[in-house]
């Protein structure tokens, strides 16, 4: 288990770094898909197979396909390269590191809460994670679920209007 975690970690971090450092957006996109796969591995390890599947379906499947499609449409690799000056790179990395250190500080200094829930790994395995999530989604979070669907609907219309040739 431990070993699997470290392997996936390595893949995730490496591919994330490649995402932001590759010159060609298409390459970045492919590395991002790799990264998402690593993430779905984590979800499996955390007893959330449903999420893992969703990760691959939604992110790797839907979103990344969309991204790649856009890159293809725009033919971005051919257009003028956009370069970031060193100045900005330096500040960006510095700030990211500061944020990183700070968050790590919180994680280390933070006191861990006692587990209060009833959904231990055994329970989840017994009922099945898909069923648990489904029950919650359609009872406690019904309203949010409906709003989310409206949001998606709006987003579809929005995307259509934005991408239309003429406003």
């Amino acid at each position: 288990m431990e070993a699997l975690f470290y392997i996936f970690s390595f893949i995730a971090i490496f591919s994330a770094l490649m995402v932001i450092s590759m010159k060609n957006p298409l390459t970045s996109a492919l590395y991002l898909i790799l990264c998402f796969f690593a993430f779905s591995g984590f979800y499996v390890m955390l007893d959330m197979q449903f999420l893992a599947v969703m990760q691959i379906l939604v992110y790797a499947g839907a979103i990344m396909v969309l991204v790649v499609l856009v890159i293809m449409i725009l033919n971005i690799s051919k257009i003028k390269r956009v370069e970031t000056d060193f100045h900005q790179k330096f500040i960006g990395i510095l700030i990211s590191l500061i944020i990183f250190v700070e968050i790590i500080f919180y994680i280390i200094n933070g006191s861990q809460k006692k587990s209060t829930g009833i959904f231990t790994g055994a329970v989840i395995k017994k009922i099945g994670n898909t069923q648990i999530i489904g029950e919650f989604l359609f009872t406690k979070y019904t309203l949010s679920f409906e709003i989310a669907s409206v949001l998606l609907f709006v987003a579809i219309i929005g995307a259509y209007i934005f991408a239309k040739k003429k406003f």
């Binding site: 957006p25 257009i79 989310a148 998606l152 929005g158």
Partner: protein, 97 residues
């Protein structure tokens, strides 16, 4: 759990750095996705450690939002490119005027 959290932080930082230093619209968008995912990972990890499922539910909603966002953002990207002929977000300076 803290392992997962540290990993999530690393990915988050990388995503943030990408957002700051890259200028390509598409890459910035992908970096944002990275940050989303790291947050998702954090949710799931904490939820798992505390024996709860609310974190997992939340992840689903984040995914919904991400999908919606992707649709709109990429629509904007197309419109933007059509308007400016480039994907450099520094060209998007209408706010200034």
């Amino acid at each position: 759990m803290s392992n997962y959290l540290i990993l999530a932080t690393i990915i988050f930082t990388i995503g943030a750095a990408g957002v700051i230093i890259r200028k390509n619209l598409i890459v910035v968008f992908m970096s944002l996705e990275l940050m989303f995912n790291s947050a998702n990972l954090g949710f799931v990890a904490v939820s798992n450690a505390l024996n709860l499922v609310s974190g997992d539910i939340f992840v689903i909603f984040v995914m919904v939002v991400a999908a919606a966002e992707a649709a709109v953002a990429l629509g904007i990207a197309i419109a933007f490119y059509r308007e400016k002929g480039t994907a450099d977000i520094d060209e998007a300076s209408e706010l200034k005027n």
